[in-house]
């Protein structure tokens, strides 16, 4: 997929920018809106967020049926289990979209852009951590994810993968589907089905805790760097000072054909 970058045709009008963007003593310069999160990514993100919520709710009911049915016609557990399995299928679909983007997505969401593979990125991760620990005054701003966030997202995707696999093992425990049996049927031979359940259950809390911390981090960073980080997961755009763009970012922006001004 072509990196879609929408450079500002004209710099942001200086008289508008200061109020919105900067600390009183911050340098004011031209900024452009960059289309960082293409819609499949946002779709995957919100799809995952929504299905995690529904899966956690239905899953917790499966774990501990807190409503006990009274009449013969209720089909409570059956409904919850059906819902859990249906949401699980959506969840898997969103996850697969995201996996596809790791290889075919924009430059900022590619696996290669997110994995903490270089020494420089590790150093940057420390810088980010320093900001959270109040050692560094300003967040480390990046056009895409900051390296620490990127690494934690990869971690959460790995756990999502584990959740899916354990879910499928349990699904197949009942369904005994031949394809799934080949794919995951061997797993209970190594990790007992009860421990599979335990993992599946415990990860639910990990996702919820992650969500809490993650939203908080986004808020903090968003308010500190004033680049519309929080908005970006809805709109796709982040506002980036032109002179902070890396060389290759610029090149990519030049190359992009669709020029549209965003402030």
């Amino acid at each position: 997929m072509q990196p879609q970058m929408k450079p500002a045709a004209a710099p942001v009008p200086p008289e508008r920018a200061p109020r919105k963007l900067a600390h009183p003593r911050m340098r004011i310069g031209p900024a452009i809106a960059v289309y960082v999160w293409q819609y499949p990514l946002r779709l995957a993100h919100w799809g995952l967020v929504l299905s995690i919520g529904l899966l956690a709710f239905t899953g917790y009911y499966i774990h501990n049926p807190f409503i006990v049915g009274q009449t013969k016609t209720t089909f409570l557990m059956g409904t919850f289990r059906f819902a859990h399995e249906a949401f699980a299928m959506c969840f898997i679909a969103f996850f697969l979209i995201r996996i596809y983007l790791f290889f075919a997505g924009d430059r900022w969401v590619k696996l290669s852009a997110m994995a903490p593979v270089s020494r420089a990125r590790w150093k940057e991760m420390i810088e980010v951590a320093k900001f959270y620990a109040f050692i560094r005054p300003r967040p480390l701003s990046k056009v895409g994810h900051n390296p620490l966030a990127a690494a934690s997202y990869l971690g959460i995707y790995a756990l999502i993968f584990v959740e899916i696999v354990t879910g499928l093992v349990m699904f197949n425990w009942l369904a005994q589907n031949p394809v799934l049996t080949v794919l995951v049927g061997w797993i209970p031979g190594y990790i007992d089905i009860q421990n599979i359940r335990l993992i599946h259950f415990c990860l639910m809390f990990v996702f919820i805790a992650f969500g809490i911390v993650h939203v908080h981090m986004c808020l903090i960073v968003s308010s500190a760097e004033k680049r519309g980080l929080l908005d970006s997961i809805f709109t796709g755009y982040k506002v980036v000072p032109v002179d902070e763009l890396e060389e290759d970012d610029r090149a990519a922006i030049e190359a992009a054909r669709d020029h549209r001004v965003r402030a």
């Binding site: 003593r25 049926p65 335990l198 639910m204 809490i212």
Partner: protein, 367 residues
């Protein structure tokens, strides 16, 4: 087609069984094995063979519960199994001879019936300290097992202990107990897991062996599929209540009296594979869930460690002791996240204003 030839009639007479008994018995067996009626003549011919196959039953680190369970077998009943179907020549709990007379019998079977006899093993085999935790006639269990099983046509491991060490191998496994297939890798063994094994299934395997001279199809744990291929939950009489969301929430409550689902009381039916609900126990009289108690998954691999705590939905989280449930741990994690986030958020409001941004070039460097 079903009428046995004169040859079989003679054989039956010699054995003191009527044809009616035989038909009844073989049909019951085929039923358990889920085989169609057309196998009846074959089964009958095999069962009525002039020379009965020899069986020896070894007991190691056991509680004799599986022997007792075999005594409760109804199709065939023990009398039939022991006298008519097989020649049951060694079985410490019930055999006539003792001491040398017993061990000599075992030696004779191993020598004279080499490659033809069946072995049933009950109980785990200790491997720590050279096997001193179980000796019989002065010999270590593992030695006896090796000699007897490796010369047999097939080995049937009955009960959880012979399957994978069972209770004896539960943590911390003080005697280094293992099941037969781990103690004697490479021998032909079929596992009749369960605590105890269900005699109906074991009898069916014996008849299958007599009929087809081979063991039935097995799963990845060498347990016969006909008995271990489906989860209990799918065959449970309380399943309708499960789906409806009607659960026992306290022992003896209204739901308990009405036979509602035991899921919330820790039932392991959704995990356990076994045909317990179908064949049931003691001549099809009942089974644990019918008696109001949850399933403990006794036919599952390493069930003592994996399925306990038996009154909780999930195992306890390793390394945290019985008091710490996964829910507590998870809520703790979420709580910690909330507290951390709140604290961090408050601290952030006090964060001193950032100093003026350095010129672009130095930003680069800093990054």
């Amino acid at each position: 087609m079903l009428a046995p030839g004169t040859e079989m009639k003679d054989a039956l007479e010699r054995r003191g069984i009527t044809r009616r008994q035989l038909v009844k018995f073989c049909s019951a067996m085929l039923g358990t094995l889920a085989l169609p009626d057309r196998f009846l003549p074959q089964a009958m011919a095999a069962v009525a063979k002039a020379r009965k196959p020899v069986l020896v039953w070894l007991e190691f680190q056991d509680c004799a519960g599986c022997s007792e369970s075999m005594l409760r077998s109804s199709h065939p009943n023990v009398g039939e199994a022991v006298l008519d179907l097989l020649s049951w020549e060694y079985h410490e709990t019930i055999m006539a001879g003792a001491g040398q007379a017993a061990t000599r019998t075992l030696d004779r079977v191993v020598k004279e019936e080499k490659g033809k006899y069946l072995v049933v093993v009950e109980g785990s085999i200790p491997t720590a300290e050279g096997g001193i935790h179980c000796t019989i006639g002065g010999r270590a269990a593992i030695d006896i097992a090796r000699e007897v099983c490796s010369n047999a046509a097939a080995t049937i491991a009955v009960g959880a202990c012979a399957f994978d060490g069972g209770l004896v191998a539960a943590k911390p496994n003080p005697t280094g107990a293992v099941g037969v297939h781990e103690a004697l890798p490479g021998i032909k063994v079929i596992n009749m897991a369960g605590c105890p094994h269900n005699p109906a299934n074991t009898a069916a395997v014996l008849v299958h062996y007599l009929t087809f001279n081979d063991l039935p199809a097995v799963d990845q744990y060498s347990r016969p599929l006909f008995a271990y291929g489906r989860i209990i939950h799918d065959q449970c009489e309380r399943r309708a209540h499960f789906d409806a969301g009607r659960f026992v929430t306290e022992w003896g409550d209204e739901g308990h009296r009405k036979g509602w689902c035991l899921y919330k009381m820790g039932c392991k039916g959704p995990e356990a594979t076994f045909n317990c609900p179908i064949v049931q126990w003691n001549d099809h009289t009942s089974w644990p869930i019918r008696a109001g108690h949850g399933c403990i998954g006794c036919a599952s691999p390493r069930f003592w460690d994996h399925m306990s705590p038996f009154y909780e939905r999930l195992p306890s989280v390793p390394g945290f002791g019985v008091e710490m449930t996964a829910t507590k741990l998870g809520l703790g994690l979420v709580g910690a996240a909330l507290v951390g986030v709140t604290g961090h958020g408050l601290a952030s409001t006090l964060r001193p204003a950032a100093p003026p941004a350095p010129p672009p070039d130095s930003v680069r460097k800093e990054n």
